[in-house]
């Protein structure tokens, strides 16, 4: 579980003196002194949340093309992204990164830029190589990439928006296109180059019926129904901006051998904790918030979506970081539910107290319970030959470990 170390967050962290930056990163990722965020999303090139101009690792001028990726470079990430990722890995050596692109290099797309369109078929091979070069370059910097998604939100094509406000990096894919890319290009190339990063397909909403801009669960179904593509797909990634977690559960019941992940979506307040519980109870094997630290102006952010809030905020005038309720709420899950934990059945006689339980690999059992009521509630927890009574404070998230 974790959040993201996208450019906005990394930039804000880079503004802090080194000791304070390290302390802040420790509070995010350290297993015992922090929230134990142990799965963090990073970006392959630019996302929408950045204060920098949009960029890829292979930008060309005018009509220039570089199908052999001779000019590929991650140099721009060395300014403030890679230093943060390296420090995060120092604070939590078990931290895993998964990476998503918002767009291929502009010259590979039908629009000729990074604002929408789709990947030109003649560049499928080059784009697969782009992933390999990214993984190898990050590995060389000491940042192993655990997994990649093919495209952040492949249903979105922002070039179709008439208001330029919405023109941010995106690239539209159909399930059939992603299926072909994985089956014929990315999967075989990973195999050939001995790239052991996992491939997580889809990375968009869990709506059951296709909508304009949100293909829904039919998209990954198209991919997994093809054995040639499915052999390379390790997991399926979902967002929650359309549909409900039931869609993810429906999908997971169809493909029970393929884990489903929740890769983007911040949750806020007690209701947020309830939503995270709901995601796990509908089959999610992970949870990732999106955008971890914004400043007092909700930035830097060149994209159109305003981050209503994040779990941590930085006041750049004073250099003060504020850890909000949501940071501690996330930690109620992340610090105690360890990677490799198995969700177990939990029976409650009170549906008003959402809860989820996991068995950690060390045998401990962790339960997270939300008490949304304005009064304390007594619960009874069974243990061997006895039971334990405890009070849940009003409007609280409580974790107990047995």
């Amino acid at each position: 579980m974790g959040s993201s170390l996208e450019p906005t967050t990394c930039y804000n962290l880079s503004l802090l003196p080194e000791a304070e930056r390290r302390a802040a990163i420790r509070k995010l990722v350290h297993p015992t002194e922090g929230a134990n965020m142990n799965l963090m999303r990073v970006c392959i090139g630019t996302p929408d949340f950045t204060g920098d101009p949009w960029y890829s690792y292979n930008d060309m001028i005018g009509d220039d093309r570089d199908p052999d990726l001779k000019l590929f470079s991650i140099e721009r990430d060395k300014a403030y992204i890679l230093p943060v990722l390296k420090m995060a890995l120092e604070e939590n050596p078990d931290l895993k990164f998964f990476a998503s692109p918002w767009s291929p290099p502009g010259w590979m797309t039908t629009t000729g830029n990074m604002i929408g369109g789709s990947l030109k078929p003649e560049y499928y091979a080059a784009y697969a190589d782009y992933f390999v070069k990214f993984i190898q370059a990050y590995e060389k910097e000491g940042i192993p990439i655990h997994a990649v998604t093919i495209q952040n939100e492949p249903g979105v094509d922002r070039s179709k928006e008439s208001d330029p406000k919405w023109h941010y990096p995106s690239c539209a894919w159909t399930g059939e296109q992603e299926r072909g890319f994985i089956a014929n290009h990315l999967g075989p190339l990973f195999e050939k180059k001995s790239i052991d990063a996992e491939i997580w397909c889809y990375d968009h909403n869990y709506n059951t019926k296709p909508m304009i801009g949100d293909a829904g669960i039919g998209y990954p179904r198209t991919i997994l129904n093809d054995p040639k593509a499915a052999q390379y797909v390790d997991k399926v990634a979902f967002h929650g901006y359309e549909g409900s977690p039931k869609g993810m559960k429906i999908f997971h019941d169809e493909f029970p051998d393929t884990p489903v992940l929740f890769t983007e979506g911040s949750m806020f307040g007690l209701r947020g904790a309830e939503k995270i519980i709901d995601l796990f109870n509908h089959g999610a094997s992970s949870y990732n918030a999106w955008v971890t630290i914004i400043d007092e102006n909700k930035g830097p952010n060149n994209g159109p979506f305003e981050a209503s809030r994040t779990c941590v905020t930085l006041d750049t005038r004073s250099g003060k970081l504020t850890y909000h309720f949501d940071y501690y709420m996330y930690a109620q899950f992340m610090r105690f539910i360890q990677p490799g934990a198995q969700r177990i059945h939990l029976e409650s006689s009170n549906d008003d107290l959402p809860a989820v339980a996991f068995k950690n690999t060390d045998g401990s059992i962790v339960t997270v319970i939300v008490n949304p009521k304005n009064e304390s509630v007594q619960i009874a927890i069974p243990t061997k030959n006895q039971f334990t009574k405890m009070q849940l404070p009003p409007t609280s998230v409580t974790t107990f470990r047995i």
Binding site: F325, R343, H345, S348, S349, A355, A380, T383, T388
Partner: protein, 63 residues
């Protein structure tokens, strides 16, 4: 995390016996931490946990 154990996940009617049987003797101790919306508790250890030496029910709640 790995996906839920299918046998447990799909068997919604599994009762407290399943829950109890998952708990080894060595772990028959409860620790708890809580965070409240009003920030009076932030990952704070919960005190006053009361152990009762009697056979318990499933995870159950009461006001």
């Amino acid at each position: 995390m790995k996906p839920p154990q299918k046998t447990l996940f799909t068997a919604f009617l599994f009762t407290l016996i399943v829950s109890v049987s998952l708990i080894p003797d060595s772990h028959a101790q409860v620790e708890a931490w809580t965070t409240t919306l009003d920030s009076s508790h932030q990952l704070s250890p919960v005190s006053g946990i009361e152990l009762k030496n009697e056979q318990g029910g499933g995870l159950r709640f009461s006001n």
